[in-house]
Symmetry: none
Subunit: 235 residues, 2 copies
């Protein structure tokens, strides 16, 4: 998934990078210019990957149905998700792909992914670089990650862990419920939210919620909601 | 070493690929167009690598003084040089570089290295690709090989993430608070606890709580406790 890509040439080069590594599914989130002749030129023999790219306006739509999203980031962030280097991230992605849909998410050429975008992912991956200059071209970063995915897929897969990850929609519905509940209980002031929801997203993102856990957490919130409703009636 | 490169943009992108991986020595053998503004544009922050590139008319001159030259090739050849994949080639190159000068040699965009050029090298390396399309862009191939060299050289680990783990006592106090709260809200029946607390311990254990997160969670529980207390007073 390429989010907010500025240069269409990079989209074409990314399509080529995927195809050389036996990958085919490219998702473009709000690309600045697409389709574009420069993208087609740089795609070279991967015109099919480019033609079948899915274009969506938001990252939420792109991530719908995924059970693991890995954000690529050159920068260190204040809110750090668990971090993996590209090789470890590829191993994880290949293992997880046996059970669900996995996304690798790349930000814009200039600033990468925003904090909000990063926090919709459950893992942060970085490409090891030299100390003096760490800015890979976007398509070059896609090439390295695609290469590592291909290398990881070549190794015999590890058996599944039985982890039943919740979908993005289930997790987002939980966060929406939690936020309403925190406002009603008075813990979250919508006028002064600070970074509360961001912190909670980071915590639960790090854990990666299972479907059954989302059900438990929603149940707890509903029990507390009942408290609030009874209290309001009894006023 | 790039031999007979046609597109100056690829030279610039290769310079950038090298610099991101802590490498600096670029040799251009009979480039078609160099220097060129397109090379400078694609080099981005690696203008120094481009400016210091050595330009020579023949591969022999480029290879003078090297003790190991590894030819990169997408195609399998009749020529029986020992073949290595990119990862094994990088390991070999890093080992040999302790004793002598090592060159990685890339051919033209369209046909790669000629047989004569390949036979000036002592090893043949290939980048593993998908079966249906194996044609990496030249700069993308340089990026993958440079990345493997960097990994083989022992990429320095990232500095610590500043993760401020909560102590066992803090985490246990949170679980005790959570359990009391769940009983009061009616979600947890002490006579029929099932495995609720066990499931919640598993979830938060997987995340590993930070100290600040424990504070936030305790704050949320306290806000909900307040609800309960007000409700009981209002009965």
């Amino acid at each position: 998934m390429l989010v907010g890509t500025t240069h269409p040439g990079n989209i074409g080069a990314a399509a080529r990078a995927l195809k050389t590594m036996g990958l085919a599914r490219l998702v473009l989130v709000a690309p600045r210019t697409f389709p574009d002749p420069e993208a087609e030129a740089r795609a070279s023999g991967a015109a099919d990957v480019l033609a079948e790219a899915r274009v969506v306006p938001t990252l939420d739509q792109a991530l719908a149905g995924t059970t693991l999203a890995i954000a690529l980031s050159a920068r260190r962030r204040g809110l750090s998700l668990p971090e993996l280097d590209a090789r470890a991230a590829a191993d994880l992605a290949v293992t997880e792909a046996q059970h669900g849909e996995v996304a690798l998410v790349f930000g814009t050429e200039s600033v990468g992914l925003s904090n909000d975008e990063t926090l919709k992912c459950q893992r942060l991956a970085w490409i090891p670089t030299g100390a003096s200059y760490s800015s890979l071209n976007l398509a070059a970063a896609v090439q390295v990650v695609a290469y590592e995915l291909h290398m990881a897929a070549g190794a015999p897969p590890r058996p599944g862990t039985g982890f039943d990850a919740a979908s993005l929609e289930e997790v987002e519905a939980f966060f929406a419920h939690l936020e309403r509940n925190l406002v009603v209980s008075g813990f979250l002031d919508p006028a002064q939210p600070k970074r509360l929801m961001e912190r909670l997203r980071r915590l639960f993102g790090r854990a990666r919620l299972e479907r059954e856990e989302v059900n438990i957490l929603r149940g707890i919130l509903t029990a507390w909601d009942g408290f609030g409703a009874r209290k309001r009636r009894s006023r």
